[in-house]
């Protein structure tokens, strides 16, 4: 052949490499990230999805790093799991790495964390979104495991009430990544909040995508398929929904994007304050049903550093572990009346006069 195409390929690869180099920016200052001298090594094992999942893995990791920021004597690292068969090796490897504190993220891992913890009673462990349990999910007593859970139904309840109060069309929608408790608890709470608004204010706001009684609804069956999430959201919008509440980690950005393309449609984000994690879309995000994972993990690491072992933590509205995020750009759009009602509702949930319940609510509290 007259052309020497492999040279072109090589050139192309080289070009890609160059792009990569320039893309990654200037060389950083040296030595800044070297603190191998730290005496306390906190390790985290992620669930599938990885540390950058824009969801609980990422929030937990942020908490770890926040702890390191606060206490330079703490060193942090993570190991990603591809699926549940990676939990054990990752936990074991963390033990072998002589970690001083091991955080397992995700309720699926609870059994694995517990069994490894019971084999290594000298190491403190923590489990996010779960309680110490045996392989079959029955709670067991593990004194060296700290459990971190959140009653996100409470914050989602407020979000549902807010959505019902703000909707113009009388239709709002929610959808999930997978039908698993950390997802459906938000949807349950959201549905509860809407129902409460309807009963209190005599409105007839319709919720698409989740039937709390039947525990059935719309799921993307993926946390990664952002394009699918966008498309699904557009379908909801075409059915009249003007507020969407995606509970699907990164795939949820598809929903926010869809909402951003329609003036009248807003989104409510989950887990973290969407205005902070997705700053480009702040003008679309009405609020967020927050779950204070980052803080809780940070606190757990710092506590472990201080020698605290075991115990449990359930984030609620009361302790600030879950909350409704600020309205940011919608500060003016939300009426003072609604704001007051939300405050009252929050108080009512805290004192128990209004129940924000879900079959997926944390059991041990």
């Amino acid at each position: 052949m007259a052309v020497k195409p492999y040279k072109l390929v090589l050139a192309g690869v080289a070009a890609t490499g160059l792009i990569t180099l320039t893309a990654c920016g200037e060389a950083p200052d040296e030595g800044s990230d070297d603190n191998a001298e730290a005496s306390f090594h906190a390790c985290m094992v992620t669930d599938s999805g990885g540390v950058d999942d824009k969801s609980f893995n990422e929030s937990s990791w942020n908490g770890m790093e926040a702890a390191k920021e606060e206490n330079p004597d703490i060193e942090v690292s993570f190991k990603e799991s591809g699926n549940e068969s990676d939990y054990d090796p990752n936990l074991q490897a963390s033990v072998a790495d002589e970690c001083d504190f091991i955080v397992g993220v995700g309720g699926l891992m609870a059994g694995n964390v517990t069994s490894v913890a019971l084999d290594n009673t000298d190491i403190p462990f923590a489990i996010v979104d779960g309680v110490p349990s045996d392989a079959e999910g029955n709670p067991v007593d593990a004194p060296n495991v700290h459990s971190i859970q959140f009653d996100t139904a409470q914050s989602a309840f407020l979000a549902g009430y807010l959505a019902a109060a703000q909707t113009e069309t009388g239709t709002v929608a929610t959808w999930g990544g997978l039908q698993i408790p950390p997802v459906t608890i938000f949807m349950d709470g959201f549905a509860g909040g809407i129902e409460y608004h309807n009963s209190q204010k005599g409105t007839d706001v319709k919720l698409l995508g989740w039937d709390a009684d039947a525990q059935s609804g719309s799921f993307l069956n993926s946390f990664e398929d952002t394009a699918g999430g966008k498309s699904l959201t557009e379908t909801f919008i075409s059915q009249g929904a003007d507020i969407v509440f995606p509970v699907a980690g990164p795939a949820g950005t598809g929903a926010v994007t869809a909402a951003s393309e329609d003036e009248a449609v807003k989104a409510i984000w989950v887990d973290v304050d969407g205005c902070v994690s997705l700053p480009d879309y702040c003008s679309t995000i009405l609020s967020s049903a927050e779950k204070g994972l980052e803080v809780a993990v940070k606190d757990a690491v710092l506590a472990a550093y201080d020698g605290e072992v075991g115990g449990s933590y359930v984030g609620t509205l009361e302790n600030g572990g879950v909350s409704l995020a600020p309205f940011h750009e919608f500060e003016d759009a939300v009426s003072d009346e609604t704001k007051t009602e939300l405050e009252d509702l929050k108080a009512a949930i805290i004192d128990g006069s209004v129940k924000a319940e879900s079959p997926s609510s944390p059991s041990a509290s």
Binding site: A27, P28, E30, D33, N83, P89, N90, A93, Q179, N221
Partner: protein, 429 residues
């Protein structure tokens, strides 16, 4: 598609085959010649080396610190070279330690902090990840030999997993019966699902690649639905996870007598047996004879009275059974605590690369599965020194070079081997 030794059409650039050496050259000369020749052994070795070289480049490029040192390479090159060497050697040593032998464990053993179980853990992990790959590699490889591209091992694996799971928790039997029954259930379920593309191809001519891809997606969605049903869903856990299999159906660990935590179990033995069986099937049995005949030349096979359609169906069924065994290995092994939508990972697709790397030979497939299992186990434990995706990249590049011996030959300017390059022959749809 078939896997075969294809003798390249002789071209003028090749040395004349006519020059027969009169005297046998000394051993070292012969050996040196062997090393610089693009025979299949050397191509494999060079492919591995090239892939790891490429991986090293990526590691260097992606490490901010090292990249920084390269920016002043010309003023003080030692920094860059040292830093690069450190990153690359750390990464590969970590991979090795995670996959085969952890030197730190040796230190800890010396200090009395670790036992033999800890020392064996990397190997055990490697073998654990190897097990399903042997099955799916065989599933793809066997079909290759019949000229079928079984891209559907993933779906077959999913159904095998479900089959083994249902028998695993649904029946109450002593382990001696329960385990074999669950394994067989996995194989049967995989075979049933696997034969569908075969039937479609035999009856309607639908291409197995397309139907397998569709069936993979269908199987994945079916799994999501199935796990959520009351029949399968765990009674005690709220996550999307199935019931665990009964203790009597859990595949016992091979190294469990040494340490309970060593996960490698007797599925590995079944895998090795399956590889031997497939080898026997292909080289000794009439069924294997038919598979190979159809794979090489279906027209001549049909003329000789073989039923092409039936061969497609049975081969796909057999391949499905093998992939189903992978599912059973997962369901009764690492997934015995309950299956999630994620348990099957990409083992079925990885089987394709394993089969390619193993050149659709049972022995080669086992070796390839071991390599990939080691890469996976190593990558897992080498975190965060090595990004997990590095193992995917390494796998892809290794297979790329293996599949294109001519590329390796050209890159390294190797000489053509006597019998021609061993390559994968291409056929159309």
């Amino acid at each position: 598609m078939t896997v075969t030794t294809e003798t390249e059409a002789p071209t003028p650039e090749q040395p004349e085959a006519g020059e027969q050496p009169e005297k046998r050259p000394p051993f070292m000369v012969l050996f040196g010649r062997y090393l610089t020749e693009a025979n299949s052994v050397m191509v494999t070795i060079y492919s591995l080396l090239l892939a790891f070289l490429l991986g090293a480049v990526l590691l260097i490029v992606s490490d901010e610190h090292v990249r920084g040192t390269w920016s002043y390479f010309f003023s003080r090159p030692t920094d860059a070279l040292e830093a690069s060497w450190e990153v690359v050697s750390n990464a590969y040593v970590s991979l090795f330690e995670g996959a085969i032998l952890n030197f730190h464990t040796l230190d800890r053993m010396a200090a009395g902090n670790a036992d033999v179980g800890d020392l064996l853990r990397p190997i055990s992990e490697t073998l654990t990840y190897t097990t399903p790959l042997i099955f799916t590699g065989l599933a793809v490889g066997l079909a290759f030999r019949a000229g079928l591209f079984n891209i559907g091992a993933q779906g077959q694996l999913v159904f095998g997993m479900l089959g083994a799971l249902i028998v695993g928790f649904g029946l109450d039997l002593p382990a001696i019966v329960h385990i074999p029954l669950a394994v067989v259930a996995g194989a049967v379920a995989g075979a049933a699902f696997g034969s569908v593309p075969g039937v479609l191809k035999a009856t309607t001519g639908a291409h197995e690649v397309i139907s397998s891809i569709m069936l993979n997606n269908i199987a994945a969605l079916f799994l999501v639905w199935a796990i959520g049903t009351g029949f399968l869903h765990s009674a005690t856990r709220s996550e999307l996870v199935t019931k665990p299999v009964d203790d009597s159906a859990i595949m016992p660990g091979i190294l469990a007598p040494i340490d309970d935590d060593l996960r490698v179990n007797y599925s590995l033995v079944i895998g090795a047996a399956a590889a031997v069986f497939v080898w026997w099937l292909l080289s000794k049995s009439t069924f294997g004879y038919r598979i190979r005949a159809v794979g090489f030349n279906q027209h001549a096979s049909a003329t000789a009275g073989m039923s092409i359609g039936r061969t497609y169906v049975t081969t796909m069924g057999a391949a499905g059974a093998l992939a189903g065994l992978a599912g059973a290995a997962l369901a009764l092994g690492v997934g015995s605590g309950g299956i999630t939508t994620n348990t099957a990972l990409e083992y079925g697709f990885d089987g394709i690369t394993v089969a390619l790397l193993g050149r659709a030979n049972p022995g080669g497939i086992v070796a390839a599965a071991l390599l990939f299992g080691a890469l996976k186990a190593g990558a897992l434990s080498a975190q965060p020194d090595v990004p997990v995706d590095m193992s995917t990249l390494l796998q892809a590049t290794i297979v790329l070079f293996i599949a294109a011996p001519a590329l390796v030959k050209a890159l390294l300017r190797l000489r053509a081997p006597r019998g021609g390059l061993v390559t994968l022959e291409a056929k159309g749809w």
